[in-house]
Assembly symmetry: D2
Homo-oligomer: 185 residues x 4
């Protein structure tokens, strides 16, 4: 099981990072922090005669990683009741590459397993649900399996350490991943 | 009634633009097309000692416009079951300027009226609801009034002209705005 | 187009009734007011050896009507952010009759058109969305087409007459139904 | 901590019962199975001159129990993407008793802790979210605290025993309740 973890956080050592470090403890995984890369907003040229113009940024490198793994953990703080802009830019560009023969996006994306970790304040276990539903629609649309999600209640750095249920679920996922990779606990 | 229309679309003459042109026909309004401006993703420095670093982009200009109007029409195509990345970047940066004394964001944002126009495919009147709920949470959080929303069913350029209900609602809004600005129909 | 209107309201001349009367003005339709009938809560015997016990109430008569029409308008006040208990009892019993050979439920339900009218207070155009999503899931599950929905803002009797958009949409539906039944406006 | 568990299930030893038995193992609690009681659908007489007519059923007894406990665990199978009709009837009648001076409903309901357990099929961790949102709106409206919820994936009797995460969360809640009641694990 090749695991890719994609973080949309824009601060170091944030609450999502803490959860992710628990989930991936001793687990082999490729980690991408989106804010370390240049990703331009999409320019929607789906319906122009010429199609999409080539973009000079880091996106194709990220997409390559995404397509080569079979289990993807999407990790984002809840910004304004949605995924971070960094992560939204990542998804938006799918529209461009779904149609690019070099990548076989539509075939490769199918059957990938998706996990989602989101953290935030303002009653996130309720107000974060539209975001979970959005992820649900995204994964349905491309044929990924939405295996599970984890909503953490945390605003200030370190708050997540007080969310017992979130920590426990992170540990459960960790055990699951270690098991899948034939590692001892 | 000072009306600002903010578009998150990334293509010219898209379906959201068509709806917006009907809504604003003969209506005085300031129009912002986010893709015409440089807006960087937020770097979350809320919890650092130094606070936010000054950013070199067009955001403050946009924010100034936002704060000076009392009715805001947010217009975005549905990209991956959410607002466009362009528009998400716009909201994310609120976190930075809410705390910036130069703008009095928290006072000025209250009681503004918000309208939302979204268009997309894949059964948008259902699959677009998490996005409407997200807008609802956003406006609640800052104290704006979410007056109404309009969901259009359209993918290819011009499709919206077949969505009778969307067009009619656009006309209703137009009448309402003309009336508020004391114009004859 | 054979139209059935099913009301889950428990008061006479409520706001949903007013909207429905506008929608069905001069339109041929069969009307069912669920509170006029005896409908027992389901007893879930799907997984017992003997299957479902025959129930002595009016349900089969209602179900017969439901199956014989091809366009169904579900009308319910929003009670506690959901459909009324009367209407929920109606849906719950589907689980019993889906498996009853006398009715051919699964075949007949497919491709029916569904319309939904809900009215309530407490910001219904947002807080009513989980109910709309629930209807969406129900219709998806059985293969009905969720053609459109209408959310009215109204609590006290007659309040709906102040909801301009709801009234207008009711008129639009009325025109649509008259047209489908080849009647002049 | 006085705990009341209210089950809306209509079958014996269903999946929700199994989860509930784990949650309440060795925990003092009052248990109500709604299908054991007669609860009539509400007749909405909020806006009549005379107010509500007295109803001959078991509801007041149930309401009394509800008001005397400070932690309520609502347990319902997901029927048609919502709570069971039995449970919906229970909530609908709140509208009647909120206004009945004998019960001091509005004062007593505030600050109660609410837990919710729902189980069902058809991808319940996503399709059950509108129901969770509905509970969220209900508890908000009356001022209860929505402490946590648990969504189990199970259709046939006993299926829940394969939902590892649901079982684990049930155990966590059990530990929490035992701790609150000063019992050893």
């Amino acid at each position: 099981m090749k695991i890719l973890t994609i973080s949309g956080s824009s601060r170091e050592n944030g609450n999502t990072d803490i959860l992710l470090s628990k989930v991936t403890d001793k687990v082999d995984n490729t980690h991408i922090r989106l804010s370390d890369y240049k990703v331009n907003p999409i320019v929607d040229q789906r319906h122009t005669g010429e199609g999409f113009t080539r973009v000079e940024d880091d996106y194709e490198k990220l997409l390559q990683q995404f397509l080569e793994h079979d289990c993807i953990v999407f990790v984002t703080p809840i910004y304004w009741f949605g995924m971070s802009g960094h992560m939204k830019l990542f998804f938006d560009r799918w529209s461009q590459y779904m149609r690019d023969d070099r990548f076989s996006f539509k075939e490769k994306v199918k059957e990938k397993q998706a996990y989602v970790i989101i953290t935030g304040g303002s009653n996130p276990k309720i107000t974060g649900l539209p975001l979970i539903q959005q992820f649900g629609h995204i994964f349905d649309f491309v044929g990924m399996n939405f295996t599970d999600y984890l909503i953490g209640d945390a605003v200030r750095p370190g708050d997540i350490l007080n969310d017992f249920h979130a920590l426990q679920k992170a540990n459960d996922w960790n055990s699951h991943f270690l098991h899948k990779q034939n590692k001892r606990l």
